[in-house]
């Protein structure tokens, strides 16, 4: 191994980029560990509480890019209180103190403040790329600091964050000398946008490839922007209401024709559907289409648009497309790899938009499909068996039947056999979300067949602890297990404590685990943080006598090398 000088080995390592591979390299021998850690530029931390910034920097002093994830996944659905944690400030402070040459920061589900953004913008001379996904806690003032101070900013990508929009002039804080932007995504901002500043910014950014606008950018402004940026590859349209005879619409039509590099389209947050035809000329080039926020685009306008998109690889859509619409997708989009169908009617009004028929049609028509997220009203075992036969290459399979515990609507049976067929056929399955009426049997299948499964989401499923045990014992590659409203308790939780060392985290809410069960777990596994989240009764957990058998509402446990975190709020009890 040491026939080559270190520089040569390091050069070889440069070609190894995935985190998994780099982690594997570092385990080969001491000398490779050392070479690897000094040459590592990108680090991914899936749980910000598994490690702390000091240890991170000690191991990887040449860090340039950091990805951090904070809150557990179920925080997306309001199951985790806002003040739970996931603060990025201590990380930025530590990175700033250490003077590491940070260039890229990607955060997901973290609490970001204006103070942290300001510190970030001032501390790293070569900072280039900021990507925030599902974060909260900051305002447009923080964005203004980034715009003003990051001289070499390349990417500012804000995806689905809760940002307090002060309607300030953050866009005009980009200095005139800033010409390096490649990505600008502010679709999630609610307030007005300084259109003049935006147009000037786009006009002086020749490298701009991705531009995603918010609601407040109307059609005539869009037309002017596209004239300035014909090189655009990824476009998020904001407001699209317009009278098709207007001058702006015609200008837009002409400008779009020139965007021959456009491959990805999204937005249409407010849309006049009959104006979609302006985009038809470039549809044949599109590989990605996200209309999941375009509630007003449906019916024939939507179908016509999709019929032009023969090269589509990724489609995110609302269920108002209907089974018939999905059949059109199946016959048109032969290159489709990823499909997400979101519910348009969240009040459960019984609008039967898509059913198992749409799913079967897609599976039959799109041989390259490997990722699906499908919200629907009903499902059958037969349909799932057919889907499994048609598409044995699924990597991600997430099915959400809107009504909890709903059985096969034809046979009234649980959906165990259907999901069983999926896990049996799809040998590369890494992520699975279950729904509908399910017994312990489905977990038996999962434990037996889902060898590559890394993430499993369970809701309103199973009968006894056996269900959870099948999964814990069978799925060797399990990383993230999240369970809600299912009858799994202490027996399953405590059966194999060492299993949790091989996993990133476990979430259990509204299950049957008790406080004494959790306490026992914490005792057996000091390398785990066992968190009890109890918003309602801060002190009730302490009551003596009954406390042992009291059920825990929310349990979140994760492996960590840095012990109990110090920033937990009062309603989080770390055992």
């Amino acid at each position: 191994m040491n026939y080559f000088p270190d520089e040569v080995i390091e050069h070889v390592f440069d070609f190894v980029t995935s985190h998994k591979d780099r982690n594997a390299i570092s385990l080969v021998c001491k000398s490779w560990y050392k070479i690897e850690r000094y040459s590592r530029q990108k680090v991914f931390i899936g749980n910000c509480y598994a490690i702390n910034p000091e240890r991170l920097l000690r191991r990887f002093p040449c860090l340039k890019s950091l990805t951090l994830k904070g809150k557990p996944h179920f925080a997306d659905f309001n199951l985790v209180p806002h003040e739970w944690g996931g603060f990025v400030l201590p990380w930025i402070e530590a990175l700033a103190r250490s003077r590491v040459g940070l260039e890229e920061l990607r955060l997901k589900r973290m609490v970001v403040t204006d103070e942290s953004l300001e510190l970030l913008s001032r501390s790293f001379v070569n900072f280039k790329s900021l990507v925030l996904v599902s974060c909260e806690g900051f305002t447009t003032d923080g964005l203004a600091s980034i715009a003003a101070n990051c001289r070499h900013l390349r990417d500012l990508d804000l995806q689905e964050n809760e940002i307090d929009d002060h309607r300030g002039q953050w866009l005009s804080c980009f200095p005139d000398t800033c010409t390096t932007l490649v990505t600008l995504n502010f679709a999630c901002l609610e307030g007005e946008t300084n259109l003049v500043a935006l147009e000037r910014l786009v006009a002086r950014s020749p490298n701009l490839k991705s531009l995603k606008l918010n609601r407040a950018v109307p059609l005539d402004a869009l037309a002017r922007l596209m004239v300035c940026a014909p090189q655009i590859v990824d476009l998020g349209v904001g407001s699209y209401e317009n009278d098709p005879d207007s001058e702006s619409y015609l200008k837009l039509k002409a400008a779009i024709k020139k965007c021959t590099l456009l491959r990805s389209l999204s937005g249409f947050l407010e849309a006049a559907p009959h104006c979609l035809s302006a985009f038809h000329p470039i549809c044949h080039n599109l590989t990605s289409l996200n209309l999941s926020y375009a509630a007003e685009i449906h019916g024939s306008h939507l179908i016509k648009l999709i019929q032009h998109c023969k090269k589509l690889q990724r489609l995110w859509i609302l269920d108002s497309i209907g089974d018939k619409g999905l059949e059109v997708v199946a016959s048109t989009c032969k290159e489709l790899q990823e499909l997400r169908v979101f519910p348009s009617d969240l009040l459960g009004g019984g609008n039967t938009a898509v059913t198992e028929e749409g799913l079967v049609a897609i599976s039959a028509g799109c041989p390259k499909l490997h990722s699906i997220l499908y919200f629907c009203q009903q499902m059958t075992n037969a349909a799932l068996v057919t889907v499994a036969k048609n598409c044995p290459n699924f990597i991600r399979f997430r099915l959400c039947i809107l009504e909890p515990n709903k059985p096969d609507h034809v046979t009234s049976q649980p959906l165990d056999e259907g999901f069983g067929a999926i896990v049996k056929a799809c040998k590369s399955l890494r992520r699975l979300s279950l729904s509908g009426l399910l017994t312990d049997q489905v977990f038996l299948y999962i434990g037996m067949y889902a060898n590559q499964l890394e993430m499993l989401s369970i809701a309103f499923a199973g009968d006894t602890d056996k269900g959870m045990l099948y999964v814990l014992n069978g799925c060797k590659k399990m990383k993230k297990l999240e369970i809600r409203d299912s009858p799994f308790g202490d027996t399953a939780l405590l059966a194999d404590v060492s299993k949790y060392e091989t996993m990133r985290s476990l979430w259990m809410s509204s299950c049957e685990v008790t406080l004494s069960g959790c306490k026992r777990l914490a005792q057996k596994a000091p390398w785990l943080n066992v968190e009890i989240i109890n918003e309602n009764d801060n002190n009730r957990m302490e009551e003596n006598g009954h406390e042992g058998r009291q059920k825990v509402d929310k349990l979140y446990l994760y492996r960590t090398v840095v012990g109990t975190r110090m920033d937990a709020p009062p309603f989080v009890w770390i055992l």
Partner: protein, 189 residues
């Protein structure tokens, strides 16, 4: 979060005091016990089910289980408000209400009110202030607070100028302006 969910007193509804909406009783349901797959059945639920027999093919309005369906809050908020803006029948017209100086915004359902006086009264109760009196020429007099709204064109308008029906259709959000900023709208001294 819980406090907001259960705060009955400030909840705006059209029903008589004392009547209870079925949805409330079911709000925090945990379907842990498999025997209890459907939500708890109350007397009021049975009443409503029997009275809506004509809609048997479509299930009655579902209880809101926390965090279900599993859709990101960001997406829920953006699709909900879109739907409510475009469909005025049956689903309510929810608009955000902000008040200068208040730490957070509220949302109200405009379809719950029959006219401006009801709306303004509700706002006064919600934010604990008073609007003064409306004059066609001079706007609101007698208070530092002025109720305004953003219309479909993005302009900030004084509440009360246009007919109520037109107001409901064009109103996107409300803002209760305060102090010196409010004077520009003809509040008058």
């Amino acid at each position: 979060m819980d406090e907001f969910v259960n705060l009955k007193e400030t909840e705006l509804r059209l029903g008589l005091p004392g009547t209870d909406n079925v949805c409330e009783a079911k709000e925090r349901v945990s379907c842990c016990n498999n025997n209890n797959k459907r939500v708890l059945s109350t007397d009021t639920e049975k009443e409503i089910e029997s009275s809506s027999r004509k809609t048997e093919t479509s299930p009655p309005r579902k209880a809101q289980i926390v965090g279900w369906p599993p859709v990101r809050s960001y997406r829920k908020n953006n699709i909900q408000s879109k739907k409510n803006e475009s469909e005025h029948e049956g689903q309510g017209i929810y608009v955000k209400v902000s008040m200068d100086g208040a730490p957070y915004l509220r949302k109200i359902d405009l379809s719950c009110y029959k006219g401006y006086s009801e709306l303004l009264k509700a706002l006064e109760v919600m934010f604990k202030f008073s609007v003064g009196e409306y004059f066609e020429r001079d706007g609101y007099k007698g208070s530092d607070f002025v109720p305004t709204y953003e219309d479909k064109d993005g302009d900030w308008m004084l509440i009360g100028d246009v007919p109520w029906e037109m107001f409901i259709c064009t109103c996107k959000r409300l803002r209760i302006m305060k102090g010196s900023e409010a004077k520009g709208l003809g509040c008058g001294v």
